[in-house]
Symmetry: C2
Subunit: 344 residues, 2 copies
Amino acid sequence: MKKKVVSFSNNAQTIIYTNAIWEKNIDTVLAKRNTVIITDKNVYRKHKAKFAHRICIVIAAGEAHKQQHTVDTIIAKLIQLGCDRQTFLLGVGGGVVTDITGYVASVFMRGIAFGFAPTSLLAMVDASIGGKNGVDVGIYKNIVGTINQPQFLFYDIHFLQTLPVSEWRNGFAEIIKHGAILNKKLFKEVAANNIKDYQQNTTLLNKLIQTNAYLKIGIVQSDMFEKAARKLLNFGHTLGHAIENTYKLTHGQAISIGMIAAAQISETLNGKPCKESLIQVFKKYGLPVHITFKVNSIMQILLKDKKKTTNGVHYVLLHEIGNAYYKNLEPDFIKQQLQQFIQA
Amino acid sequence: MKKKVVSFSNNAQTIIYTNAIWEKNIDTVLAKRNTVIITDKNVYRKHKAKFAHRICIVIAAGEAHKQQHTVDTIIAKLIQLGCDRQTFLLGVGGGVVTDITGYVASVFMRGIAFGFAPTSLLAMVDASIGGKNGVDVGIYKNIVGTINQPQFLFYDIHFLQTLPVSEWRNGFAEIIKHGAILNKKLFKEVAANNIKDYQQNTTLLNKLIQTNAYLKIGIVQSDMFEKAARKLLNFGHTLGHAIENTYKLTHGQAISIGMIAAAQISETLNGKPCKESLIQVFKKYGLPVHITFKVNSIMQILLKDKKKTTNGVHYVLLHEIGNAYYKNLEPDFIKQQLQQFIQA
């Protein structure tokens, strides 16, 4: 197990444990902490032995349960367990688990300490990093939450052995996003390989995860509260969030479609060609590049997104692969572009 | 209207507007803010003209509604109104309204700006100050929330003209607490006057409110996250919180009884006599000094309070009037003291 401490602008610090092994290292990491684990039914069922003799709150799995009622259930359980300000919450799971765990820890008794052991590729490269937490409200994504850094991230890639292929695809959507907005070399590497290559080569996989994790950490360090650079990470998320819960897509599917739409808008606004190379790599990783949706109702949801400003929507676009920017787009222009997109 | 800026250790700033008049000053204060007002039915009904042509969310009045379901309702309404990160929330009301408004603003879209116009004496001298916000969970007080400072506090004492006497008493419980823990001179002044004296003398009342507001602000400035001095403000609140929702007491009634119990414990632990002078002043202000309760069930609630530590409960005690300290007390000792208290 390797240990590295990263610091953020508000003086928060997160310890990054990489090459970790749950059975060997978790007791050391949790030493002297009064830990309550929050996980979901899928993770709990697949890793029962890991949770033996530990206090666990097991929530229903899936984005449909990333709602306030799950938060209410966890808090009732924490009270019942007699938890106090010294209690430490460990979220073991994918992005839904880490988002909810971070949120509960941020508001329970006005804030207790917490850490994450991400178990999905998506959570390892993206969701568990950066302190954003919260829940959806109905179909509206992440409308409620806080920004609050975990005390540690515990990377054990053995969790990925039980991950279904749909979840590998989900993770690669964010990895491809990182390449597209920030790092052409990463984009090319991913385009040259496929899921099997990474599954069969632990060294390659470990390197990929760490590259992506530190790419995101770097962005969050430079701009924790999303005033500038961090906005770029929303590439594909404006349309993505609007269609994700409405059409019951996975997060990876939703943002892949969102990225293609954003690439189309980028090209319309004189960006270099980028849509086609994105389409090719998404197809290689089993991710969708198109969906037909009702533009009017999706516009209504999109205009309630957090990225909305008083005179439009903050949209992330590409100059070219590896080089992104954001721009305020007028709702009418977005609507017209989305109409073109669904007819393409 | 007078304006003073106070700063806190986390770089947050709050503007204190005193001697303000809603009709004359509120538009200046809210200029350029996209404001949504949150208030309760009582305040709305008594001050309808003040809310004309303003966007208001009116919640049910009273501590019984300081629960997550009210937060959910407000958030649904904010989404429906098309609110975004530029929306500003103004809480106009007593402590329940300011606690809920601050909490909603802290989590909606991961945090938007907010301010308070406290309308009750309790909110003016205590509840609206210091950034603590949140809701109760069932009978457990303030179990969920954050610490987040408002952009401003707007003091218009004309709101107090419609305040029922029970609410004046409620406010005086916290004022007497401030005197008891921090300021013997304040304690003596309050003991020498009565509610009518303050109601009939605006200068005296204004001075009392400002003294108490700045007393609390000073404590919060020195210790925003309650590591030391701020703990003293919990005098009377350990037992107070445990009995408040169970026996449907007002906050003032609950903490008055709590302060008498704490004074008794203080005397047991060799503090100077203080219980009798507290009893006299509470009686003068129409506040109760005793209640009979079930010690076992109240101990259970008390041991789920935020002030619980792994080996006891942080209890605020008095060396003498005007001089407080806190001490970790063992549950068995507290139980024995509470048994004596109810038999007194």
